[in-house]
Symmetry: C2
């Protein structure tokens, strides 16, 4: 049976499983690291959800090469992006930031390990992500130029013009966001940047050319925004059991969301438009096998958690 | 006049000046970054002291090559290590960690910008350090393999078996450190790791062989410990004006220090022993021009701030 024909749910579960296995051994066993710090890091890593970002790294590498084996070299970078995503959640949940006690139905890091250890667990995850990314070359023979380009992208898109800058804009603009344009600019940095990174990184490792990298980047930007809109919609109308958190929590916290600014209908239309544009750009880019990525775009729009 | 004959104070001031100039433009001007975030990052960067770590990067590159021009390629990595050092101070000062209001006579980051922005400024400095390090290849033609090795070292020595792990051990062991061995293990990670990184990184960029890198690493480890012992001694007997903080603050905070555990005389002897061993290892490593590094080792031991 061709890889392509495997049902999407099975594909996503298998890729998430590979990533979770790799994450379990991401800290070298011979390093002297305080157990409590490792426990705090692994607590939040293991509390992970869909593993969307790392799955996209692997899927992009496979799409470019047209080969399901192509993603083995991309596994270190997949782990790195999940570590960066996890650190951002741990720091965002801190009392000085969003002050959240629960995430995905589990106590947040600082509620279990204390604030000091949560700050350090986040710092550790972020720092170690760059070590793990470098293993693409050290352990899998990816050319050093490629890994260096991936690391530069990661530091940019997780950094000042990306995730950290978006989070700062969000903190600074709290309650002050009044236009869909402003909200879009924050989400492009907070969410899309790292999703876009994942696709481009997988593409680089799979050997994509510049035109293909551009298409993967646009695809990531758009499905990242669509993903965020669906998050906002699910927060309003979702199933609390499936989401692992109370619905309408954004409303209670007076958070400015897409449905709040545009209404539910317009939000759904915008999500569909973004997804269609993403798929079109990708379909035109001449990837060896874009099918799985196209399926994922549709899946993200239709998900219920 | 040969570079080597310039007085050490002049050399250190000139190198610090080069680094400070480069740090001013370390954030690309065309990036869209919230002003407040940039301000918070630059506030702590500009509050910097001796710029010891980045100066060591440059001095190591020059020592290996025997050429004062050799350090231009090392400037991005010098900036990167100063950014990592600065992030660690910003996060260490947070209320949940050491809860310090002043550092080097200035208000700490969170006292000026608030806790949320201080956490993000630290995250931003750490993330951006890896972007800046990658510019060694992008802008100065350092081989990608070399820059990747530097980045891997940085993520390790600033990370779990290095600075983050040492800070975690310090937080966990607060008041519980009872032996010089334990104290040494914490300082090796909290202080020596990044100083050692600086020397090895400069060495890599200067083209050092493995034997030379080992000597630079040992030199860094030892002068890092000696530096910490002198810090502890200055805290007890130093000049408040020069230090920019109250003396005996460690005593008041019940911090376990070298003089506390070993006495003043034994602490001074240990510092001298570490420095002598460092210099001996370096002198035997066959560097083209180790003179400046040897001078710096002596200077660190004798400093009064």
């Amino acid at each position: 049976m061709k890889e392509q024909h495997k049902p999407l749910q099975q594909y996503l579960a298998e890729q998430a499983g590979r990533i979770e296995d790799a994450l379990k051994t991401a800290i070298p066993a011979n390093w002297d690291v305080p157990d409590k710090l490792k426990d705090a890091m692994m607590y939040s890593i293991e509390a992970g959800g869909k593993r969307l970002r790392p799955v996209l790294v692997l899927a992009a590498a496979e799409a470019v090469k047209g080969d399901a084996q192509a993603s083995a070299c991309a596994l270190p970078v997949a782990c790195a992006v999940e570590m960066v995503h996890t650190y951002s959640l741990v720091h965002d949940d801190l009392p000085a930031m969003d002050n959240d006690d629960y995430r995905r139905g589990k106590l947040t890091n600082h509620k279990v390990f204390g604030e000091a250890m949560a700050i350090l667990a986040g710092d550790g995850l972020l720092t170690h992500a760059f070590y793990v990314a470098a293993q693409a070359t050290r352990q899998h023979g990816v050319p050093a130029e490629t890994t260096l380009a991936v690391i530069e992208d990661l530091a940019r898109l997780a950094g000042l013009p990306g995730m950290v800058g978006g989070q700062a804009a969000d903190v600074l603009g709290e309650q002050g966001v009044t236009s869909a344009e402003e909200l879009r600019s924050i989400h492009l940095r907070k969410t899309s940047a790292l999703i876009s990174f994942s696709l481009v990184a997988g593409g680089r490792i799979g050997g994509a050319d510049d035109r293909q990298l551009d298409a993967l980047s646009l695809f990531g930007r758009n499905i990242g925004l669509a993903f965020q809109i669906q998050d906002d919609i699910l927060d309003l109308i979702g199933d609390e059991q499936k989401l692992g958190k109370k619905v309408q929590s954004d409303l209670r916290q007076n958070k400015v969301t897409y449905p709040y600014l545009l209404g539910m209908d317009e939000s759904r239309k915008e999500m569909a438009r973004l997804t269609a544009e993403a798929k079109e750009a990708l379909a035109r880019a001449g990837l060896a096998d874009p099918g799985r990525l196209l399926e994922i775009a549709d899946y993200l729009m239709g998900r219920d958690r």
